[in-house]
Subunit: 214 residues, 2 copies
């Protein structure tokens, strides 16, 4: 069903995809964005509930407000990181990315979609959010093959983002995604290049039959 070349293409994009924090000003092709959203919409979802929505933000005014919300949270987090200026620096790069990128997409999750008893969701309610994460991963892979750069901002108070984008209280704004082009697509994860964290040995993460057995 898939040729050797197709197989290689999949592994190539999975390994090439990076979280990007720096964008140039080239405007984004809306055809590409539509293909990326179509990819998101083809993600699996528990009980086929398709809990996602996508708010496309191109207005500078709204992007500035979102950047303000993330920066407020960065400043609050900086207090918890205490002496660690590097942590606060890493987060501030994301905020710059949010301002620079021509397009921000707020991805939301509606836990009520599909009714009260979505098939297979009842026992693990967070599967709706995991479905939405699968959609975001599809967006990421699609962005990468489109030559687009994507960054995921995950620090803000959800109430602020709801206020800024007019999102109802029962809807969960799970991610702010920056989309644009970059002059410098990272070859390795930025936190790895900066020696903040390294890729773990996969072998040590795999167990056989029981937790802890190899």
């Amino acid at each position: 069903m898939f040729s050797k070349e197709e197989k290689e293409a999949i592994y190539k994009v999975i390994e090439t995809r990076r979280d990007v924090r720096s964008f140039n000003q080239d405007s984004v092709s809306m055809d590409a964005v539509n293909r990326i959203l179509e990819a998101a919409h083809h993600a699996p979802s528990v009980g086929f509930m398709q809990p996602w929505n996508f708010i496309l933000v191109e207005s500078d005014e709204i992007k500035q407000k979102l950047a303000w919300a993330a920066d407020k949270e960065r400043r609050a987090l900086a207090i918890h990181y205490e002496e660690d200026e590097r942590a606060s620096k890493f987060l501030s790069l994301k905020i710059e990315g949010l301002k620079e990128a021509p397009l921000t997409i707020c991805v939301t999750c509606d836990p009520t979609r599909g009714g009260s008893h979505v098939l297979g969701r009842n026992s693990i309610p967070e599967t709706d959010m995991m479905s939405t994460a699968c959609a975001i991963q599809n967006m990421w892979l699609a962005s990468c093959v489109e030559g687009l750069a994507m960054g995921w901002v995950s620090f803000y108070k959800k109430a602020d983002v709801r206020d800024i984008l007019g999102i109802p209280p029962h809807i969960d704004p799970v991610a702010l995604i920056s989309i644009g082009y970059t002059d410098d697509y990272p070859k390795a994860p930025i936190l790895e290049s900066a020696k903040w964290e390294k890729r773990r040995s996969l072998e040590k993460l795999i167990y056989k039959e029981l937790w802890g057995s190899s």
Copy 2:
């Protein structure tokens, strides 16, 4: 960076991938499984925390126990679905799949990995689970290009799965994944073919600038 053919391959796998509930007895190539897990391990994760582990279960005895846990939950859920026998039937297919598939992978999420203040995780703690979901989506796409079938079982009591697989209390068993070959790879989502739920119009899920604006 990506050729037209490579781009098409990505969209092809994203659209072809299905949740599979019926497996034959062909044994699974461990080389393919290793490539699938490598794909999972190349998922993005908040603060590069890589919170995942993979427990590979091939023992019939343990698979039967996991199927028992899921079946117990299916019977409990059936009470909530009340008259709706079809719902309980859909879930029972998954349990059959869990018994049939030569390999079950329990994917877990360790919320403590990377320490108390993982970069960017502090404000939205569930980002660790979303990272794990991205890894599962990579596994799904990789399985699909490998010609393997994959099914995600999301109904069980986590305490039962922890007991069966010896998982520590702070580790979250987020998914039971069935992996094997199938004689009948679904062309459309099973819940769509069965007219349980249909694919929503993507257009209606996209807003511009603010929630609700198109």
